[in-house]
Amino acid sequence: MIASSIGEERRYEYDVLVIGAGGAGLRAAIAASATGAKVGVVCKSLLGKAHTVMAEGGIAAALANVDDRDGWQVHFADTLRGGQYLNNPHMAEIHAQEAPARVRELEAWGALFDRTADGRILQRNFGGHRYPRLAHVGDRTGLEMIRTLQDHGIHQGIEFHMECTVALLLKDGLRVTGAFGYERERGRFLVFSAGAVVLATGGIGRAFEVTSNSWEYTGDGHALAYEAGAELMDMEFVQFHPTGMVWPPSVHGLLVTEGVRGEGGVLRNREGRRFMFDDIPELYKNQTADNEEEGWRYCQGDKTARRPPELLTRDHVARCIVREIKEGRGSAHGGVLLDISWIRSRIPNAEVHIKKKLPSMYHQFKELAGIDITKEPMEVGPTTHYMMGGVRVDAWTQMSSVSGLFAAGECAAGLHGANRLGGNSLSDLLVFGQRAGEHAAQFARGQGRSAPDPAQIDAAAERLLAPFARPAGEGPYAIQRELQVMMQSQVGIVRNGGEMSHALEALAAFRQRASRVAVYGHREYNPGWHTALDLENLLVVSEAITRAALERRESRGAQFREDFPDKDKALGQVNVVVQKGDDGEMRIARAPLVPMTEEQRRIVEEMK
């Protein structure tokens, strides 16, 4: 009665199957097809709608167009410092070295970035980057990037499966050989055979209540890899972006680009105090301005000035905001104030300047909150934004611990360590998307195609259809909502062991409820059904985040534990790794950091 026996499913065969069509997926697909491989791309939504589109600030690459003191070594050291040295140093090195070429290549494919006076690609300041480094176009860089990749990709002979979701990776022995999923439109099942599979599914934001992520980001790639036996790493490190909208309620969590601060925007509490000056971490003291005047000069391009404290790393800024709110100095709707309008007192035509530099922020606040950011401050607060953790991969090839399975972009781990610098995600997608695609194609060449195993397909099909067979059960939306609320309150920005132990118990109860979830209607474009299926992935990543966060009994980067507020020397030498045990239970282990080479160590010391 199940899929393979009734023959209703559609079958496809590729050398490389890419799951996800954001920046990493598209770049991987382009790289794979450039080698002559036959490439298929599965995308959960329509092409060009993935979350890459939301990236605002820019692409970090040491082009040194604006400040010739920049170079890959500086970018490399900045990335490690931001990640609190839990990064894979080889990934950080490859990333810093290859990002400039990947950006120039985008330009050759039609992307248009803002320019310097002499016509080269302009670069802007961003948190944690020593020099102006982000290639950008206004505040819609992500759109420019995904559209360029999309418009280039459609001419490369790649087959796109829009609005399709993968629910299982198929294996032949220990090797991943394909995938099983469904299409939204008709609800039909899909079977893909592939020589290699690249995961590029993005993040996990929907595990939390307040997030900048859309419905798609349910940790699919993380869960698929986990179920296939791959190791996940750094799952405790969830980036809460310091500035999301807080009002009105319907836009709570919507991203406010760091570019606002890069252009001179300042954070104030309800008393008008620039509270970011109150707590500047030791690691950044000698790079950070200690007075408002110097901070402003930095934003105006003064090379002798140091960064304003608003441009400290995201983890730190988010925690300072939480502190202000908790201590009663927050704004009317439980945030703090982010003000760019104050620059009117410093530059002529400030209104025009703000609208030109931050057009979509202007638009977003005007349309959704009735606020004119050229005239009044914005209310902002932290929002779940990005997952540093993900599939543990080889730095050079992006292959996971499972043969034939590659991962790139947000769903992979290693580049960002304990905290990602703004702008490093878009460059991550390009650099490691390209590498994953190329190496997946190379791997696929050496492999025969194996016929999909009917038993795996039948079991998956049965699992997918089960919610239809339980007409009396609970619907999926309430479970998802309650899970998000629980994760936000128990495993959020400020964590402690007691709450997280409760979270594990709560997750077990959610798992019970999810196993009884019921959907009604039919299989054609049924969002209730899709929400029910996504629940399984959310539960896997929620458990992985919680267990990893419990294991890391210290505060470092994005993880802040009020019961262990300091760094722990021993834990600073390890990554926490999560894997599915033979008994089906989640296993947690500590893995020693990938050691730096002598040369890398020297660069880090030099840049301190």
Partner: protein, 246 residues
């Protein structure tokens, strides 16, 4: 909290009808919030396409009270809530289910447009030099989020169903972005005249009115393209020149 009624079209390619749903509304809500609330409360299987909920991805296009809109950018405060708010799918495309339409035609059409072809690099390191003002000129077209509301409202497509002969405003904006790209050297004028049917546009500017990104589609993209096509193919001197060239 106030309550409001939404008349949402439910059905598929074989037909359907409006159904009434009543839900609570609160400050700052947009139409998409209401649709989601209804979906979670009383219509789990209500099909709606959405992603960013910030007006940046162009997924949640629909017709609200008869107007082509992004549901995520349509605030309830701007609608009269003393009568039901109607929400229905875009009319220019086949319905898949409920509020979701089959927009694949737009993606297929894009593939028929010749891709970006840059002039040789300006510098030895393979890079180009471009003036900011040349970037600014095409930014207007490049900010398109592909919501296809302009396609939805274009009468050539919506009423006359000339999908086979005319690519529609979105793809003309795309062509304009390429044609006016400071580095591009490809020639798309012949395609625009023939395969892409630019002549069908009779500049009623409906597309410009509905664009959520405020792109001046007709004046800034389509009319200049039409002028280039006219210059290329209908200028008597150029026609003469072409005769001799043959």
């Amino acid at each position: 909290m106030a309550r409001a009624t939404f008349k949402i079209w439910r059905g598929d390619g074989s037909g359907g009808a409006f159904q009434d749903y009543t839900t609570e509304v609160s400050e700052g809500m947009v139409v998409l919030d209401a649709v989601h609330r209804i979906q979670a409360e009383s219509a789990n299987d209500l099909a709606v396409r959405w992603n960013c909920k910030a007006g940046k991805c162009g997924s949640c296009s629909a017709e609200v009270n008869g107007q082509p809109r992004l549901m995520c950018m349509t605030r309830l405060a701007d609608l009269p809530l003393d009568r039901p708010v109607t929400v229905e799918p875009m009319q220019a495309f086949p319905v898949i289910r409920d509020l979701v339409t089959d927009v694949a035609w737009n993606f297929a059409g894009k593939k028929t447009i010749r891709k970006f072809k840059p002039r040789p690099p300006d510098a030895a390191d393979g890079t180009w030099r471009v003036a900011q003002e040349d970037v600014d000129r095409v930014q207007e077209f490049r900010k398109c989020i592909e919501c296809f509301l302009c396609q939805d409202v274009c009468h050539v497509l919506r009423e006359h169903h000339l999908h086979d002969a005319f690519v529609g405003p979105r793809l003309l904006v795309y062509s304009a972005a390429l044609e006016m790209h400071p580095l591009d050297v490809e020639d798309r004028l012949g395609d625009l005249k023939r395969e892409h049917g630019i002549g069908y546009c009779n500049i009623t500017k409906c597309c410009t009115k509905v664009c959520p990104e405020n792109i001046t589609i007709t004046d800034n993209a389509i009319i200049p393209l039409k002028e280039r096509v006219v210059d290329e193919f209908f200028d008597p001197l150029r026609r003469l020149f072409r005769v001799f060239r043959k």
